[in-house]
């Protein structure tokens, strides 16, 4: 055997073992989410049909080394899911083998990845401690511009101020350029305001049939296909409301297409796309895609059959242990079980579960309705005699310099009862403190309102915070909080206002009834 053929044999053996190794790494670690066939498991992004594993190896290497976080568009779908970093698990050789396997099997032969490439990226990113976001990766390693159906695209730019489409045949272009990628983009003008562009091209129809053209722009323009004006958008305005969709019957082959566009001032956007006879999705000819942003999943939570709704997940502008109650009369409450305080009152829609109940549900959800009044923040029950008996740990300080510090409060949350109509009575207790806080929907001063009954059954006076840092003014025998929420003492001791703090103090056995309604 000649040395060269021996070398060839060795090389091919080495390649073969690398391929086996790549398949093994993939099937052991990657297939659990991306699927043995690269098509993704349920809810997890595929590699097949995705741009991500193609192109520069650095992008894929970064993802494998440090992981990925946040929303990412893959093959036309948006995923919001974390990929755990594998840099500490896999050697350079194993990452190279796995990516070579992925690029060969699922990315249409995007080319082998070498351990040296992985080592180089690893060296560059040693200080990277967090997973990458899609935006970061695409900024560093963009996808290649796809060739579109627009052949011989030429753009001409005109400078001037127009409020209607001018007669371009009478104008002289200030600039004329070929755009071989076949993508229309107003940025090609190099200008922001007061310009026009005319693009001409040959539209390549892959077969005979109906082509639905989608056209929109900010500010205005016209679309010509086969010499005929098929759509026009008139006047100064944004994209969205004036979007046109026009069907055109085309023969297989090239058809002239022309787009006239004028930007007056402000945003500059052109949207052009089409759906051919066999296309399932719109194919875009402009840089801006008019993908209607995926409508947020909405799961309204509301009172049903006269029974109040409840929501126990993270509500915005109150504490993590808040309990939301949506009453059938259109008033809503968020009670903080951390602070033992009514913290939010609002009207209209109660909560939308669409955010917390889809994907991982990270973050807080704001109330779904209107007139959200933030009543207070911080402890809602205090002892007149000083600090309480319940130890709580609060986080103090920001960044890396923080500690837990003990705070003594008067009482802790003990739970709640729900009556047949779902109306809550919250309970709190501490040494010498026992407080119930009941809420019922009821007309107050002729308006839909909430009747609140606070009852103290301890052996010492307790002060309940009704509002903190809210403007309050007296009107018609009520205190008006935040300019719109009326609070009335219906029976029992009178609330007291001092230093932007509205409180009521209950002696042992005392009850106060309060009425809340919007003016």
């Amino acid at each position: 055997m000649r040395p060269s053929s021996l070398l060839a044999l060795l090389t091919s053996a080495a390649l073969l073992s690398a391929a086996e190794d790549g398949a093994q790494v993939y099937n052991t670690l990657c297939a659990a989410c991306h699927g043995p066939d690269g098509k993704g498991l349920n809810g997890l992004p595929p590699l097949v049909g995705s741009e991500w594993p193609k192109g520069p190896a650095e992008r894929s290497i970064k993802i494998v080394l440090n992981g990925m976080t946040g929303p990412v568009e893959v093959a036309g779908m948006t995923y919001n899911i974390d990929m755990p970093p594998q840099g500490a698990v896999l050697s350079d050789e194993k990452i190279a083998a796995a990516l070579t396997y992925v690029r060969d099997k699922f990315a249409g032969g995007a080319g082998a990845v070498t351990p040296a490439q992985v080592a180089a990226v690893r060296a560059q990113t040693t200080k990277r401690a967090t997973p990458w976001t899609a935006a970061e990766l695409l900024n560093a390693h963009p996808f290649p511009p796809a060739k579109t159906a627009l052949k011989n695209l030429v753009g001409m730019m005109y400078q001037g101020e127009w409020k209607t489409l001018p007669d371009f045949s009478a104008l002289k272009p200030a600039l004329m350029e070929d755009f071989n990628a076949g993508v229309i983009d107003p940025a090609q003008s190099g200008l922001k305001d007061h310009f026009a562009m005319v693009w001409t091209a040959q539209f390549e129809a892959k077969e005979d049939g109906k082509y639905n053209f989608v056209f929109d722009c900010d500010d205005f323009g016209a679309l010509y296909v086969g010499g005929e004006r098929i759509a026009e958008i008139k006047g100064i305005g944004p994209v969205g409301g004036r979007r046109k969709e026009v069907p055109v019957i085309l023969k297989k082959g090239l058809t002239p297409i022309r787009l006239e566009y004028v930007e007056f001032a402000g945003h500059e956007v052109v949207v052009l796309g089409y759906k051919g006879p066999k296309d399932k999705e719109i194919k875009w000819l402009s840089k801006t895609k008019a993908n209607a942003p995926k409508p947020r999943v909405s799961i309204p939570i509301e009172a049903k059959d006269g029974v109040a709704a409840i929501y126990r997940n993270f509500i915005d502008k109150t504490t993590p242990r808040a309990i939301g109650i949506g009453f059938p009369n259109g008033l809503n409450l968020a009670y903080s079980a951390d602070n033992l305080a009514a913290e939010l009152i609002w009207t209209g829609k109660f909560m939308d579960g669409g955010h917390h109940w889809t994907d991982r549900g990270a973050g807080n959800e704001p109330p779904a309705g209107t007139n959200v009044i933030k009543l207070s923040d911080g402890p809602g029950v205090a002892l007149a005699s000083g600090e309480g008996s319940v130890v709580r740990f609060d986080r103090k300080g920001e960044g890396k310099e923080w500690t837990f510090s003990a705070v003594k409060v008067a009482a802790e949350f003990k739970g709640y009862d729900l009556d047949a109509a779902g109306n809550p009575t919250f309970r709190a207790a501490g040494e010498g403190v026992s407080l119930t806080d009941a809420w019922i929907p009821e007309a107050i001063a002729g308006k839909p309102g909430l009747r609140r009954t606070l009852k103290s059954e301890g052996d010492r006076p307790v002060t309940v915070v009704l509002a903190r840092d809210l403007t309050s003014e007296g009107a018609d025998g009520a205190t008006v909080l935040g300019g719109s929420l009326s609070l009335r003492a219906l029976s029992g001791p009178q609330p007291k206002a001092a230093d932007k703090l509205l409180t009521v103090t209950l002696k042992p056995g005392e009850t106060v009834v309060l009425g809340y309604s919007f003016r």
Binding site: L29, A32, L41, N42, A88, I310, Y311
Partner: protein, 518 residues
């Protein structure tokens, strides 16, 4: 050359070599294929059926409780609690669901006691009671809410059933699984019936479930990530440190002694010998080979009604939609043992695992919201029952000073079982480090020197040269059949050898601390 000379020569060569005379049959099984093949045989031994959930409702099952009168309750991730009648019946089309509570906060642990359902919600441990008997809870008593909740979606709280003293054990995931932004994140605690909060263990990362064995010792699953080279089943020994120092900030909350500050890039064995409170995983569930994200922890105490696994742990697996079986033993005061593939083909990613110990019915629930799974449905509630035909399996593996003893479920065919060539062993461990996960490292290949079959044929004693303390020992058994000719349902096991069963115990575990209740 005469035959005898050849043999002598070979024997001499073998004697000179450190390596085994026979090549171990390793790498013969690609895990995914082996698992698929085993799943295909499952229906010979077990019946798996889906229990219809309430029509039109999203029931991402996060907890399962057993109620008197053959009723079962499920708690969903959206926070609804449903009670079903008829879940044990042959005809599941007639199950009847009633809603017990709405929109509590992601209950991941639920049980029935003294006329109430108790739920470990994310922010509190709660007793839910239907006082007026209309089928809906009307009293919600917060028994304990002493742990911090920062508002992070990943701060899951999993709760156990009550122990013999009525205490409920809970594990609190780190903030975002990387930080400890609120008190007791990354800790395990015991909650007494009167609501006292007793921190019992630190060093937790991201649990997927919690449950006790027959002795009442509590275990939880912890997922691969920072300081976890691989996912594992861990023993929540009171006073223990579980390996992840992220939650160490909470030591200051209770005047505990200074926490262990382990060294990254080391090995668990090295660090736990330095820090005696560090309890190593009872069983690694090797990442990618056994599963990717372990979840619910159950125990088979059904006295044979679910098969011959009395006392063994059943561990749910989210990504692979499976249940694994873990047979533990206690050696030198530490739990250790082997994990085997067991049940698979479930319809979603598994979260809770609940065994009815009286009846031998295993209920499982699942969801793949936010975390994908092999099972392709968004959520599932299922029932598994033993059909009565015992599969030929390795029932358990026991560590011996010089090897292992494999216990089989049926007597083995002695000739094949005595052939050392039918056992391949390799070992590895993980880097114990602050970065995410670890490769398998420090690989070795021990030699099986002899395999001795017990008189009743149920045990095979392997004498092994080269056991490694602290390593996972991966065993592949090939061509061993039962006396009646059955092949093994599953051929692989991963035994975590924390300790060798020496007669002299060198290990000194710290005493269980006096309860510090808060």
């Amino acid at each position: 050359m005469k035959h005898l000379t050849v043999i002598a020569l070979l024997a001499c060569v073998a004697g000179l070599q450190a390596a085994p005379a026979k090549t171990p049959k390793k790498g013969k099984l690609v895990p995914a294929e082996a698992v698929k093949a085993a799943e295909a045989r499952q229906s010979e031994f077990y019946e798996r059926v889906e229990i219809p959930t309430p029509a039109g409702e999203v029931c991402e099952v996060g907890s399962i409780a057993l109620l008197p009168g053959k009723k079962v309750a499920i708690g969903t991730r959206r926070g609804d609690v449903w009670v079903v009648e008829g879940a044990y019946d042959a005809d599941l089309s007639k199950v009847k669901w009633t809603k017990f509570a709405s929109n509590i906060h992601e209950p991941l642990g639920m049980f029935w006691k003294e006329g109430s359902l108790f739920a470990m919600q994310r922010p509190e441990f709660t007793r839910m009671t239907d006082r007026d008997g209309d089928g809906r809870a009307d009293r919600f008593e917060t028994i304990c809410s002493k742990w911090g909740v920062s508002g992070d979606y990943h701060e899951y709280a999993f709760g156990s059933d009550p122990d013999k003293d009525g205490n409920v054990w809970a594990v609190f995931c780190l903030t975002g699984s990387f930080h400890s932004h609120a008190p007791w994140r990354g800790w395990g605690a015991k909650i007494t019936p009167d609501g006292k909060f007793i921190p019992v263990a630190s060093g937790i990362r991201s649990p997927g479930g919690i449950g006790a064995n027959g002795e009442g010792d509590v275990f939880y699953t912890d997922n691969q990530g920072v300081w976890n080279g691989s996912s594992s089943l861990k023993w929540l020994r009171p006073g223990s440190f579980q390996g992840n120092p992220t939650g160490n900030k909470s030591y200051a909350l209770a005047d505990f002694p200074a926490p262990p500050e382990p060294q990254s890039g080391s090995r668990i064995l090295t660090e736990r010998l330095k820090h005696p409170a560090f309890v190593p995983p009872a069983a690694f569930l090797p990442h990618g080979k056994v599963g990717n994200s372990p979840s619910g922890v159950g125990c088979d105490l059904a006295r044979g009604k679910f098969g011959p696994w009395q006392g063994q742990m059943l561990v749910g697996e989210q990504t692979a939609s499976q249940v694994q079986r873990v047979a533990l033993e206690k050696v030198n005061g530490l739990y250790q043992g082997a994990v085997f593939h067991f049940l698979g083909g479930f319809e979603a990613g598994l979260v809770p695992v609940r065994m009815d110990q009286e009846d031998g019915t295993l209920f499982i629930g699942g969801t793949n919201r936010g975390w994908g799974s092999r099972g392709s449905k968004p959520f599932t509630f299922e029932r598994v029952r033993f059909k009565g035909r015992t599969p030929f399996e390795m029932r358990a593996i026991a560590a011996k000073l010089d090897g292992f003893e494999i216990e089989f479920t049926h007597p083995v065919d002695a000739a094949a079982a005595a052939d050392v060539e039918n056992y391949a062993l390799d070992t590895f461990t993980y880097i114990y480090q602050s970065s995410y996960g670890s490769p398998e490292v420090d690989q070795t290949e021990p030699t099986v020197k002899s395999a001795v079959v017990s008189a009743d044929g149920l045990r095979v004693r392997l004498v092994v040269d080269g056991l490694v303390r602290g390593h996972v020992h991966h065993l592949v058994v090939t061509d061993v059949k039962s006396k009646s000719g059955e092949t093994l349902w599953h051929t692989e096991a991963w035994y975590t050898l924390n300790e060798l069963p020496t007669s002299v115990t060198s290990l000194k575990l710290p005493p269980v601390p006096v309860d510090l209740s808060l």
